[in-house]
Subunit: 236 residues, 2 copies
Amino acid sequence: MPLVIDIAIAKTNKYASRESGDTVEIVERPGGGMSVIMADGQGSGRAAKALSLLVTAKVAALLKEGVRDGASARAANDFLFAMRHGQVSATLDILSVDLKTSTVVITRNSGTSCLVTNDDGVNVITGTERPLGTHARTRPWTMEFPVAAGVRVILVSDGIAQAGARANDAPLDLASLLCRAGDDAEAQDVADLVLSSAILCDRGKPADDMSVVSLALREHQQPILIRRMRAEVPLP
Amino acid sequence: MPLVIDIAIAKTNKYASRESGDTVEIVERPGGGMSVIMADGQGSGRAAKALSLLVTAKVAALLKEGVRDGASARAANDFLFAMRHGQVSATLDILSVDLKTSTVVITRNSGTSCLVTNDDGVNVITGTERPLGTHARTRPWTMEFPVAAGVRVILVSDGIAQAGARANDAPLDLASLLCRAGDDAEAQDVADLVLSSAILCDRGKPADDMSVVSLALREHQQPILIRRMRAEVPLP
């Protein structure tokens, strides 16, 4: 049965901060498929936002030109390093469903754990690489596996990974959250559950910007293929 | 009461065509707010898709650098004209909620009608400008009005505007569709209704690629501001 690529993002600002330093973007791949790009700029507020926008814009432009994910991450590092002389850093996560190769590709320069559900079961992966911008030859951590029904990926920014840390709580257990969401959960349900759990861990006042990216590959039976895209941005 | 920017896209391919020649992208504006970019490349299939991707990628990159919508449309025209020697054309629609100026801005190089609901009531606007790529000094048609609760905009591609034309049906009445969706309808409900009505007009077999962009500005009472973004892409 054919698959549907279901991607969702949920994010919020650090408490009492007007602007989130995280930027998340969804782009269409010229060879077929979709990519999500998440960047977390060093610091918070306006400067961090400008930085993360710069990184996602660079990576989005490269992906839309057909550049490979790994090469795009390397280019973003070199660009940031050249422009800002190694003095600012940003984390970068790229999650792609590549229909040319029929694989899911995860490319990361960040330190948070991510969850992957595929043929190998449910795995929380802690593979990390240093963020972009501080060294000349940084390279990304990558993972690739076949596109298949039942695949799920959850990527989180620092603010989610550290939720509850001030109160010495254990970090969020992504695997048990996914289990709670259920097998039929849509990507948005999972993203919303992870974000609301993280906000709860921080006692309703997020200690940092928080972003969650959730991917689900499900089977569908739509006779006419309808693509949907949506953005909901509540203003203060 | 604060507002939520609610943007939704629904699109489908021409019947029996693997690829849609339309591309729609949502981007975040560096000065605050969101923009949707819709391009319809001349022809259909792979060449049209590559062309529309090229146009949206160019406009998205410029908007993310803080370039004004009108200047971005002009730049996309000049770029396409220079690259393809005036031999290919693409329509372009940019719909922005600009929080710097607190206005909704519509910038168009296309011939379809669009619907705008604001303080002046519900208006279907037929203002057109020629598409990008065929002349050296093409400029866009523009409209700007204040951000306010109750604002709605519907933009459609050619395939929606021409739906039913083969059977000599009257074109879709966007105003009555919006009315049918109801005042509380979310942007996605409106986009889905317009698309499904257009598919129905074409007797279930879209005669051309079809895309709908829907914007709704609604009031919200969320204590914690959570942004959401979603993409659903069913594969053949």
